[in-house]
Amino acid sequence: MAIIETKNLTYVYPGASKPSISDVSIKIEKGEFVLITGPSGCGKTTLCRCFNGLVPHFYQGELKGEISVAGIDTLKHHTYEMAKHVGLVFQNPENQLFALSIEKDVAFGLENLGLPRDEMRKKVDWALNQTGIYDLRERSPHEISGGQQQRVAIAAVLAMEPEIIVLDEPTSFLDPLSAEKIFEVIYGLNKQQGITVVLVEHRLDLTAKYTNHLIVMNEGKVRFDGNPREILSAEETRLIGVGIPKATLLYQMLKKEGLNLSNTTPLSSEELAGELLEALKSK
Protein backbone atom coordinates (compact mmCIF):
# COMPACT_ATOMS: atom_id res chain seq x y z
CA MET A 1 0.00 0.00 0.00
CA ALA A 2 1.21 3.46 -0.83
CA ILE A 3 2.50 5.51 2.10
CA ILE A 4 0.69 8.61 0.87
CA GLU A 5 -2.41 8.35 -1.22
CA THR A 6 -4.93 10.99 -2.18
CA LYS A 7 -8.09 10.78 -4.28
CA ASN A 8 -9.73 13.85 -5.74
CA LEU A 9 -8.43 16.07 -2.98
CA THR A 10 -9.95 19.54 -3.13
CA TYR A 11 -9.54 22.38 -0.65
CA VAL A 12 -10.73 25.96 -0.38
CA TYR A 13 -9.21 28.22 2.26
CA PRO A 14 -11.94 29.92 4.32
CA GLY A 15 -12.83 33.16 2.58
CA ALA A 16 -11.17 32.22 -0.71
CA SER A 17 -13.13 32.30 -3.94
CA LYS A 18 -11.52 29.33 -5.59
CA PRO A 19 -9.86 26.10 -4.46
CA SER A 20 -6.13 26.04 -3.82
CA ILE A 21 -6.01 22.44 -4.89
CA SER A 22 -8.61 20.58 -6.92
CA ASP A 23 -8.98 16.94 -7.76
CA VAL A 24 -5.49 16.00 -6.68
CA SER A 25 -4.95 12.27 -6.89
CA ILE A 26 -1.44 11.03 -6.24
CA LYS A 27 0.29 7.93 -4.88
CA ILE A 28 3.63 7.97 -3.14
CA GLU A 29 5.33 4.68 -2.28
CA LYS A 30 7.38 4.02 0.83
CA GLY A 31 11.02 5.03 0.47
CA GLU A 32 10.53 7.28 -2.55
CA PHE A 33 12.17 10.67 -2.99
CA VAL A 34 9.41 12.73 -4.56
CA LEU A 35 9.87 16.18 -6.04
CA ILE A 36 6.88 18.49 -6.32
CA THR A 37 7.22 21.64 -8.38
CA GLY A 38 5.20 24.28 -10.17
CA PRO A 39 4.85 28.06 -10.44
CA SER A 40 3.94 30.18 -7.42
CA GLY A 41 0.36 29.68 -6.38
CA CYS A 42 0.03 26.25 -7.97
CA GLY A 43 -1.08 24.63 -4.73
CA LYS A 44 2.04 22.73 -3.74
CA THR A 45 2.28 24.48 -0.38
CA THR A 46 -1.36 23.65 0.38
CA LEU A 47 -0.81 20.04 -0.64
CA CYS A 48 2.13 19.74 1.77
CA ARG A 49 -0.03 20.89 4.60
CA CYS A 50 -2.61 18.26 3.77
CA PHE A 51 -0.04 15.55 4.47
CA ASN A 52 0.20 16.27 8.19
CA GLY A 53 -3.27 17.58 8.82
CA LEU A 54 -2.56 21.31 9.07
CA VAL A 55 -5.09 21.39 6.29
CA PRO A 56 -7.85 21.20 7.35
CA HIS A 57 -7.40 21.18 11.14
CA PHE A 58 -5.26 24.30 11.54
CA TYR A 59 -6.61 26.28 8.61
CA GLN A 60 -10.26 25.21 8.99
CA GLY A 61 -12.27 25.12 5.80
CA GLU A 62 -13.46 21.95 4.12
CA LEU A 63 -11.19 19.34 2.64
CA LYS A 64 -12.99 17.18 0.13
CA GLY A 65 -11.81 13.88 -1.24
CA GLU A 66 -9.82 11.11 0.36
CA ILE A 67 -6.40 11.15 1.88
CA SER A 68 -4.35 8.54 3.66
CA VAL A 69 -0.89 9.18 5.10
CA ALA A 70 1.08 6.31 6.68
CA GLY A 71 -2.18 4.41 6.72
CA ILE A 72 -3.99 7.13 8.66
CA ASP A 73 -6.95 9.20 7.46
CA THR A 74 -5.74 12.71 8.29
CA LEU A 75 -9.30 14.01 8.33
CA LYS A 76 -10.11 11.85 11.34
CA HIS A 77 -6.93 12.41 13.36
CA HIS A 78 -5.36 15.35 15.15
CA THR A 79 -2.28 17.04 13.78
CA TYR A 80 -0.35 15.92 16.86
CA GLU A 81 -1.05 12.31 16.00
CA MET A 82 0.24 12.83 12.47
CA ALA A 83 3.45 14.34 13.88
CA LYS A 84 4.72 10.88 14.79
CA HIS A 85 4.51 9.79 11.17
CA VAL A 86 5.01 12.91 9.07
CA GLY A 87 7.50 15.68 9.73
CA LEU A 88 7.03 19.02 8.03
CA VAL A 89 9.93 21.43 7.43
CA PHE A 90 9.00 24.94 6.36
CA GLN A 91 10.52 27.65 4.23
CA ASN A 92 11.71 30.15 6.83
CA PRO A 93 14.32 28.67 9.17
CA GLU A 94 14.00 31.43 11.75
CA ASN A 95 10.33 30.82 12.46
CA GLN A 96 10.70 27.13 13.21
CA LEU A 97 13.07 27.48 16.13
CA PHE A 98 11.60 28.69 19.38
CA ALA A 99 13.71 27.31 22.19
CA LEU A 100 16.75 29.00 23.67
CA SER A 101 19.16 26.22 22.78
CA ILE A 102 19.43 24.00 19.72
CA GLU A 103 19.07 20.68 21.52
CA LYS A 104 16.01 21.90 23.43
CA ASP A 105 14.49 22.77 20.06
CA VAL A 106 15.24 19.34 18.67
CA ALA A 107 13.67 17.84 21.78
CA PHE A 108 10.52 19.96 21.51
CA GLY A 109 8.44 17.40 19.66
CA LEU A 110 9.59 14.59 21.93
CA GLU A 111 8.74 16.65 25.02
CA ASN A 112 5.30 17.25 23.59
CA LEU A 113 4.88 13.51 23.20
CA GLY A 114 5.81 13.02 26.83
CA LEU A 115 8.78 10.72 26.32
CA PRO A 116 11.06 9.89 29.27
CA ARG A 117 14.24 11.88 29.56
CA ASP A 118 16.86 9.25 28.66
CA GLU A 119 14.91 8.18 25.60
CA MET A 120 14.68 11.80 24.50
CA ARG A 121 18.39 12.28 25.05
CA LYS A 122 19.20 9.36 22.78
CA LYS A 123 16.89 10.46 19.99
CA VAL A 124 18.04 14.08 20.18
CA ASP A 125 21.69 13.10 19.97
CA TRP A 126 20.96 10.76 17.08
CA ALA A 127 19.06 13.41 15.14
CA LEU A 128 21.80 15.98 15.78
CA ASN A 129 24.40 13.57 14.44
CA GLN A 130 22.36 12.62 11.38
CA THR A 131 22.15 16.26 10.37
CA GLY A 132 25.76 17.05 11.24
CA ILE A 133 25.05 19.67 13.89
CA TYR A 134 25.95 17.85 17.09
CA ASP A 135 28.59 20.47 17.91
CA LEU A 136 26.03 23.24 17.78
CA ARG A 137 23.66 21.67 20.27
CA GLU A 138 24.20 24.19 23.08
CA ARG A 139 24.13 27.30 20.94
CA SER A 140 21.17 29.59 20.67
CA PRO A 141 19.23 29.75 17.38
CA HIS A 142 20.10 33.37 16.81
CA GLU A 143 23.83 32.65 16.72
CA ILE A 144 23.82 30.22 13.80
CA SER A 145 23.47 30.68 10.05
CA GLY A 146 20.30 30.11 8.04
CA GLY A 147 21.63 26.88 6.62
CA GLN A 148 22.43 25.59 10.09
CA GLN A 149 19.02 26.69 11.38
CA GLN A 150 17.34 24.72 8.65
CA ARG A 151 19.34 21.65 9.61
CA VAL A 152 18.09 22.13 13.17
CA ALA A 153 14.54 22.19 11.84
CA ILE A 154 15.20 18.93 10.01
CA ALA A 155 16.75 17.40 13.14
CA ALA A 156 13.77 18.53 15.20
CA VAL A 157 11.44 16.70 12.87
CA LEU A 158 13.77 13.71 12.48
CA ALA A 159 13.98 13.16 16.25
CA MET A 160 10.38 11.99 16.24
CA GLU A 161 11.42 9.26 13.77
CA PRO A 162 8.69 9.86 11.20
CA GLU A 163 8.27 7.59 8.20
CA ILE A 164 7.85 10.61 5.96
CA ILE A 165 9.52 14.01 5.87
CA VAL A 166 7.90 16.76 3.82
CA LEU A 167 9.95 19.87 3.03
CA ASP A 168 8.27 22.97 1.63
CA GLU A 169 10.89 25.00 -0.27
CA PRO A 170 13.40 24.58 2.55
CA THR A 171 16.21 26.40 0.74
CA SER A 172 14.37 29.53 -0.41
CA PHE A 173 16.30 31.77 1.92
CA LEU A 174 19.64 30.00 1.63
CA ASP A 175 22.63 30.56 -0.62
CA PRO A 176 23.43 27.85 -3.22
CA LEU A 177 26.16 26.20 -1.15
CA SER A 178 23.99 25.88 1.97
CA ALA A 179 21.13 24.68 -0.23
CA GLU A 180 23.28 21.90 -1.63
CA LYS A 181 24.23 20.80 1.87
CA ILE A 182 20.58 20.60 2.86
CA PHE A 183 19.76 18.46 -0.17
CA GLU A 184 22.65 16.16 0.63
CA VAL A 185 21.36 15.72 4.20
CA ILE A 186 17.86 14.98 2.95
CA TYR A 187 19.10 12.57 0.33
CA GLY A 188 21.19 10.82 2.95
CA LEU A 189 18.16 10.36 5.18
CA ASN A 190 16.23 8.92 2.27
CA LYS A 191 18.92 6.50 1.17
CA GLN A 192 20.31 5.42 4.52
CA GLN A 193 17.31 5.62 6.84
CA GLY A 194 14.68 4.74 4.25
CA ILE A 195 12.63 7.82 5.09
CA THR A 196 10.15 8.79 2.41
CA VAL A 197 10.94 12.32 1.28
CA VAL A 198 8.55 14.78 -0.34
CA LEU A 199 10.42 17.88 -1.45
CA VAL A 200 8.80 20.99 -2.86
CA GLU A 201 11.31 22.98 -4.86
CA HIS A 202 11.82 25.47 -7.68
CA ARG A 203 15.52 24.78 -8.14
CA LEU A 204 15.30 21.69 -10.29
CA ASP A 205 18.90 22.10 -11.41
CA LEU A 206 19.97 21.19 -7.90
CA THR A 207 17.32 18.60 -7.08
CA ALA A 208 16.08 16.79 -10.18
CA LYS A 209 18.98 14.36 -9.98
CA TYR A 210 17.78 12.93 -6.65
CA THR A 211 14.39 11.79 -7.78
CA ASN A 212 12.62 9.45 -10.12
CA HIS A 213 9.15 10.64 -9.18
CA LEU A 214 8.30 14.18 -10.23
CA ILE A 215 4.94 15.87 -9.74
CA VAL A 216 4.24 19.12 -11.57
CA MET A 217 1.33 21.22 -10.41
CA ASN A 218 -0.31 24.24 -11.95
CA GLU A 219 -3.33 26.25 -10.82
CA GLY A 220 -4.27 23.76 -8.13
CA LYS A 221 -4.18 20.70 -10.34
CA VAL A 222 -1.62 17.99 -10.96
CA ARG A 223 -0.39 18.35 -14.53
CA PHE A 224 2.32 15.73 -14.62
CA ASP A 225 3.11 12.84 -12.35
CA GLY A 226 5.87 10.39 -13.16
CA ASN A 227 9.33 10.09 -14.61
CA PRO A 228 11.26 13.38 -14.43
CA ARG A 229 13.21 12.64 -17.60
CA GLU A 230 10.02 12.49 -19.65
CA ILE A 231 8.29 15.36 -17.90
CA LEU A 232 11.18 17.77 -18.12
CA SER A 233 11.59 17.07 -21.84
CA ALA A 234 8.00 18.04 -22.57
CA GLU A 235 7.30 21.43 -24.09
CA GLU A 236 4.23 21.89 -21.94
CA THR A 237 6.28 21.72 -18.77
CA ARG A 238 8.38 24.61 -19.94
CA LEU A 239 5.26 26.54 -20.89
CA ILE A 240 3.79 26.14 -17.43
CA GLY A 241 6.75 28.07 -16.16
CA VAL A 242 8.78 25.32 -14.54
CA GLY A 243 12.52 26.04 -14.39
CA ILE A 244 13.91 23.24 -16.53
CA PRO A 245 17.52 22.41 -15.59
CA LYS A 246 19.93 24.00 -18.04
CA ALA A 247 21.57 20.65 -18.66
CA THR A 248 18.24 19.34 -19.96
CA LEU A 249 17.63 22.42 -22.12
CA LEU A 250 21.11 22.28 -23.62
CA TYR A 251 20.65 18.59 -24.32
CA GLN A 252 17.44 19.29 -26.20
CA MET A 253 19.02 22.11 -28.18
CA LEU A 254 21.98 19.97 -29.19
CA LYS A 255 19.85 16.99 -30.09
CA LYS A 256 17.74 19.18 -32.34
CA GLU A 257 20.89 20.31 -34.14
CA GLY A 258 21.75 16.71 -34.80
CA LEU A 259 24.33 15.95 -32.15
CA ASN A 260 24.25 12.22 -31.54
CA LEU A 261 23.49 12.15 -27.85
CA SER A 262 21.84 9.18 -26.17
CA ASN A 263 18.12 8.99 -25.68
CA THR A 264 18.33 9.46 -21.93
CA THR A 265 17.42 12.99 -21.00
CA PRO A 266 20.03 14.26 -18.53
CA LEU A 267 18.85 15.94 -15.37
CA SER A 268 22.17 17.24 -14.09
CA SER A 269 25.38 18.71 -15.41
CA GLU A 270 27.24 15.48 -14.55
CA GLU A 271 24.89 13.42 -16.68
CA LEU A 272 25.09 15.77 -19.64
CA ALA A 273 28.86 16.04 -19.37
CA GLY A 274 29.06 12.25 -19.44
CA GLU A 275 26.91 12.09 -22.56
CA LEU A 276 28.87 14.86 -24.27
CA LEU A 277 32.16 13.11 -23.63
CA GLU A 278 30.72 10.02 -25.28
CA ALA A 279 29.27 11.89 -28.23
CA LEU A 280 32.33 14.04 -28.90
CA LYS A 281 34.94 11.34 -28.44
CA SER A 282 33.31 8.98 -30.90
CA LYS A 283 32.90 9.62 -34.60
Binding site: R49, N52, L54, H57, F58, H78, T79, Y80, E81, A83, K84, G87, L88, F90, N92, E94, N95, Q96, L97, F98, A99, L100, S101, E103, K104, A107, F108, G109, L110, E111, N112, L113, G114, L115, P116, R117, M120, R121, V124, S140, P141, H142, A153, A156, V157, M160
Partner: protein, 260 residues
Protein backbone atom coordinates in the same frame (compact mmCIF):
# COMPACT_ATOMS: atom_id res chain seq x y z
CA UNK B 1 19.48 49.03 20.41
CA UNK B 2 20.83 49.77 23.90
CA UNK B 3 17.42 49.22 25.49
CA UNK B 4 17.49 45.62 24.39
CA UNK B 5 21.09 45.20 25.51
CA UNK B 6 19.88 45.23 29.09
CA UNK B 7 17.70 42.21 28.36
CA UNK B 8 20.52 40.32 26.75
CA UNK B 9 21.84 38.09 29.46
CA UNK B 10 25.58 38.17 29.74
CA UNK B 11 27.25 34.78 29.67
CA UNK B 12 29.58 35.25 32.60
CA UNK B 13 30.63 32.24 34.58
CA UNK B 14 30.41 32.60 38.31
CA UNK B 15 29.14 30.48 41.15
CA UNK B 16 26.10 32.72 41.44
CA UNK B 17 25.17 32.21 37.79
CA UNK B 18 25.15 28.50 38.26
CA UNK B 19 22.80 28.53 41.21
CA UNK B 20 19.33 27.15 40.78
CA UNK B 21 17.02 30.01 39.79
CA UNK B 22 14.28 28.78 42.10
CA UNK B 23 16.53 29.07 45.13
CA UNK B 24 17.73 32.44 43.95
CA UNK B 25 14.16 33.56 43.58
CA UNK B 26 13.36 32.31 47.08
CA UNK B 27 16.31 34.37 48.32
CA UNK B 28 15.06 37.49 46.54
CA UNK B 29 11.55 37.08 47.92
CA UNK B 30 12.98 36.60 51.40
CA UNK B 31 14.98 39.81 51.13
CA UNK B 32 11.77 41.46 50.01
CA UNK B 33 9.93 40.17 53.08
CA UNK B 34 12.71 41.18 55.47
CA UNK B 35 12.90 44.64 53.93
CA UNK B 36 9.20 45.05 54.56
CA UNK B 37 9.52 43.83 58.14
CA UNK B 38 11.76 46.72 59.12
CA UNK B 39 11.32 50.44 58.74
CA UNK B 40 14.41 51.42 60.67
CA UNK B 41 17.56 52.40 58.96
CA UNK B 42 20.05 50.15 60.74
CA UNK B 43 18.64 46.77 59.72
CA UNK B 44 17.99 48.03 56.19
CA UNK B 45 21.53 49.24 55.92
CA UNK B 46 22.63 45.84 57.09
CA UNK B 47 20.48 44.21 54.42
CA UNK B 48 21.95 46.44 51.74
CA UNK B 49 25.50 45.63 52.69
CA UNK B 50 24.67 41.92 52.99
CA UNK B 51 24.04 41.65 49.25
CA UNK B 52 27.30 43.20 48.14
CA UNK B 53 29.36 40.00 48.46
CA UNK B 54 26.85 38.27 46.13
CA UNK B 55 27.31 41.04 43.56
CA UNK B 56 31.07 40.73 43.77
CA UNK B 57 31.00 36.94 43.58
CA UNK B 58 28.84 37.17 40.50
CA UNK B 59 31.19 39.72 38.93
CA UNK B 60 28.34 41.92 37.77
CA UNK B 61 29.36 45.09 39.65
CA UNK B 62 29.29 47.39 36.61
CA UNK B 63 25.79 46.45 35.49
CA UNK B 64 24.54 46.36 39.06
CA UNK B 65 25.76 49.90 39.71
CA UNK B 66 24.07 50.97 36.50
CA UNK B 67 20.75 49.61 37.67
CA UNK B 68 21.14 51.46 40.96
CA UNK B 69 21.86 54.65 39.08
CA UNK B 70 18.66 54.06 37.15
CA UNK B 71 16.76 53.78 40.38
CA UNK B 72 18.33 56.93 41.79
CA UNK B 73 15.64 59.21 40.44
CA UNK B 74 12.79 57.28 41.99
CA UNK B 75 14.75 56.87 45.20
CA UNK B 76 15.26 60.61 45.42
CA UNK B 77 11.55 61.12 44.80
CA UNK B 78 10.61 58.73 47.60
CA UNK B 79 12.97 60.49 49.99
CA UNK B 80 11.67 63.94 49.08
CA UNK B 81 8.01 62.93 49.39
CA UNK B 82 8.54 61.37 52.80
CA UNK B 83 10.42 64.37 54.14
CA UNK B 84 7.82 66.71 52.76
CA UNK B 85 4.98 64.69 54.27
CA UNK B 86 6.52 64.78 57.73
CA UNK B 87 7.28 68.46 57.28
CA UNK B 88 3.66 69.24 56.62
CA UNK B 89 2.20 66.92 59.21
CA UNK B 90 4.44 67.78 62.15
CA UNK B 91 3.94 71.48 62.15
CA UNK B 92 6.41 72.63 59.51
CA UNK B 93 9.38 71.19 61.27
CA UNK B 94 12.00 68.80 59.89
CA UNK B 95 13.28 66.57 62.62
CA UNK B 96 16.30 64.30 62.52
CA UNK B 97 14.07 61.30 63.07
CA UNK B 98 11.90 62.31 60.15
CA UNK B 99 14.93 62.37 57.91
CA UNK B 100 16.06 59.03 59.22
CA UNK B 101 12.63 57.55 58.51
CA UNK B 102 12.60 58.91 55.00
CA UNK B 103 16.10 57.57 54.45
CA UNK B 104 15.03 54.17 55.75
CA UNK B 105 12.08 53.96 53.37
CA UNK B 106 14.29 55.03 50.48
CA UNK B 107 16.81 52.40 51.44
CA UNK B 108 14.07 49.80 51.52
CA UNK B 109 13.27 50.64 47.91
CA UNK B 110 16.95 50.48 46.98
CA UNK B 111 17.36 47.10 48.67
CA UNK B 112 14.48 45.73 46.62
CA UNK B 113 15.92 47.08 43.38
CA UNK B 114 19.38 45.72 44.12
CA UNK B 115 18.19 42.22 44.96
CA UNK B 116 15.99 41.91 41.88
CA UNK B 117 18.79 43.36 39.80
CA UNK B 118 21.23 40.73 41.03
CA UNK B 119 18.65 38.06 40.26
CA UNK B 120 18.09 39.10 36.66
CA UNK B 121 21.76 39.78 36.03
CA UNK B 122 22.76 36.31 37.15
CA UNK B 123 19.94 34.25 35.77
CA UNK B 124 19.89 33.42 32.07
CA UNK B 125 16.55 33.40 30.27
CA UNK B 126 17.12 29.69 29.61
CA UNK B 127 17.42 29.04 33.31
CA UNK B 128 14.42 31.20 34.05
CA UNK B 129 12.39 29.41 31.42
CA UNK B 130 13.44 26.07 32.86
CA UNK B 131 12.48 27.16 36.35
CA UNK B 132 9.12 28.24 35.05
CA UNK B 133 8.66 24.96 33.25
CA UNK B 134 9.45 22.95 36.34
CA UNK B 135 7.27 25.01 38.63
CA UNK B 136 3.53 24.60 38.70
CA UNK B 137 3.05 27.40 36.20
CA UNK B 138 1.10 26.07 33.17
CA UNK B 139 3.48 25.22 30.33
CA UNK B 140 1.90 27.80 28.02
CA UNK B 141 3.25 30.62 30.19
CA UNK B 142 6.76 29.25 30.38
CA UNK B 143 6.66 28.75 26.61
CA UNK B 144 5.37 32.26 26.00
CA UNK B 145 8.21 33.59 28.13
CA UNK B 146 11.04 31.71 26.43
CA UNK B 147 9.65 32.38 22.96
CA UNK B 148 9.42 36.07 23.73
CA UNK B 149 13.02 36.15 24.92
CA UNK B 150 14.09 34.14 21.88
CA UNK B 151 12.55 36.61 19.48
CA UNK B 152 13.44 39.91 21.11
CA UNK B 153 16.72 40.25 19.20
CA UNK B 154 15.00 39.15 16.00
CA UNK B 155 12.25 41.74 16.35
CA UNK B 156 14.77 44.42 17.25
CA UNK B 157 16.69 43.72 14.04
CA UNK B 158 13.49 43.73 12.07
CA UNK B 159 12.46 47.07 13.52
CA UNK B 160 15.80 48.48 12.42
CA UNK B 161 15.37 47.04 8.90
CA UNK B 162 11.88 48.49 8.61
CA UNK B 163 13.10 51.90 9.72
CA UNK B 164 15.87 51.71 7.14
CA UNK B 165 13.42 50.68 4.42
CA UNK B 166 11.13 53.61 5.13
CA UNK B 167 13.98 56.07 5.50
CA UNK B 168 15.10 54.94 2.07
CA UNK B 169 11.71 56.17 0.81
CA UNK B 170 12.25 59.61 2.19
CA UNK B 171 10.71 59.16 5.62
CA UNK B 172 12.34 61.50 8.10
CA UNK B 173 11.85 60.28 11.63
CA UNK B 174 13.73 63.05 13.38
CA UNK B 175 12.00 66.06 11.86
CA UNK B 176 8.84 67.93 12.67
CA UNK B 177 6.64 68.63 15.63
CA UNK B 178 6.01 65.99 18.27
CA UNK B 179 2.68 65.12 16.65
CA UNK B 180 4.26 64.76 13.23
CA UNK B 181 7.01 62.59 14.62
CA UNK B 182 4.51 60.26 16.27
CA UNK B 183 2.58 59.97 13.00
CA UNK B 184 5.82 59.24 11.18
CA UNK B 185 6.14 56.03 13.16
CA UNK B 186 3.00 54.57 11.60
CA UNK B 187 4.93 53.31 8.53
CA UNK B 188 7.29 51.60 10.97
CA UNK B 189 4.74 50.17 13.36
CA UNK B 190 2.37 48.68 10.82
CA UNK B 191 4.93 46.53 8.99
CA UNK B 192 6.32 45.50 12.38
CA UNK B 193 2.94 44.38 13.63
CA UNK B 194 1.99 42.67 10.38
CA UNK B 195 5.31 40.90 10.37
CA UNK B 196 4.88 39.81 13.97
CA UNK B 197 1.49 38.36 13.15
CA UNK B 198 2.84 36.49 10.14
CA UNK B 199 5.69 35.18 12.23
CA UNK B 200 3.29 33.94 14.91
CA UNK B 201 1.32 32.06 12.30
CA UNK B 202 4.42 30.35 10.99
CA UNK B 203 5.51 29.51 14.51
CA UNK B 204 2.11 28.04 15.26
CA UNK B 205 2.32 25.88 12.15
CA UNK B 206 5.72 24.62 13.22
CA UNK B 207 4.50 23.91 16.74
CA UNK B 208 1.45 22.01 15.53
CA UNK B 209 3.64 20.01 13.20
CA UNK B 210 5.78 18.96 16.15
CA UNK B 211 2.97 17.42 18.17
CA UNK B 212 2.00 20.44 20.26
CA UNK B 213 -0.84 19.44 22.50
CA UNK B 214 -0.27 15.70 22.18
CA UNK B 215 -0.36 15.16 25.91
CA UNK B 216 -0.94 17.18 29.04
CA UNK B 217 2.00 15.46 30.73
CA UNK B 218 4.80 17.21 28.97
CA UNK B 219 8.33 16.05 29.81
CA UNK B 220 11.57 18.02 29.79
CA UNK B 221 14.95 17.31 28.25
CA UNK B 222 16.64 19.14 31.09
CA UNK B 223 16.28 18.72 34.80
CA UNK B 224 17.11 21.32 37.36
CA UNK B 225 19.06 19.63 40.11
CA UNK B 226 20.02 21.21 43.39
CA UNK B 227 23.72 21.26 44.21
CA UNK B 228 25.77 22.12 47.28
CA UNK B 229 25.80 25.82 46.44
CA UNK B 230 22.02 25.82 46.22
CA UNK B 231 21.66 24.22 49.63
CA UNK B 232 24.13 26.73 51.02
CA UNK B 233 22.11 29.64 49.68
CA UNK B 234 18.95 28.00 50.97
CA UNK B 235 20.46 27.76 54.42
CA UNK B 236 21.69 31.34 54.34
CA UNK B 237 18.28 32.58 53.24
CA UNK B 238 16.42 30.67 55.92
CA UNK B 239 19.00 31.90 58.42
CA UNK B 240 18.38 35.50 57.41
CA UNK B 241 14.64 34.99 57.70
CA UNK B 242 14.86 33.41 61.13
CA UNK B 243 17.23 36.06 62.51
CA UNK B 244 15.13 38.85 61.05
CA UNK B 245 11.89 37.57 62.50
CA UNK B 246 13.56 37.13 65.90
CA UNK B 247 15.01 40.64 65.86
CA UNK B 248 11.73 42.10 64.70
CA UNK B 249 9.82 40.48 67.51
CA UNK B 250 12.23 40.66 70.39
CA UNK B 251 15.02 43.15 69.80
CA UNK B 252 14.29 46.83 69.87
CA UNK B 253 16.14 48.59 67.07
CA UNK B 254 17.52 51.97 68.01
CA UNK B 255 17.31 54.97 65.79
CA UNK B 256 20.55 56.67 64.91
CA UNK B 257 18.99 60.07 65.35
CA UNK B 258 18.70 59.36 69.03
CA UNK B 259 22.43 59.53 69.35
CA UNK B 260 22.78 62.82 67.59
Amino acid sequence: MSVFDGLKFRKVYSPIHDLDPRIKFFYVISIFVVAILFSQIIPLLFLFVLQIPFVLLARVQKQWLRSLRGAAFLAGLIFAINVATSYFTTGYVITASAIENAAALTLRFVVLVESFSVFFLTTSPDHLGLALEESRVPYEFAFAFTTAVRFVPVLAEEAQTIMDAQKARGLELEKGSLLKRIRNYVPVLIPLIVSAIRRSLELAEAMESRAWGATKKRTNLYLLKLHRGDYALLLITVGILVVSIYVRLFVPVPMISRFI
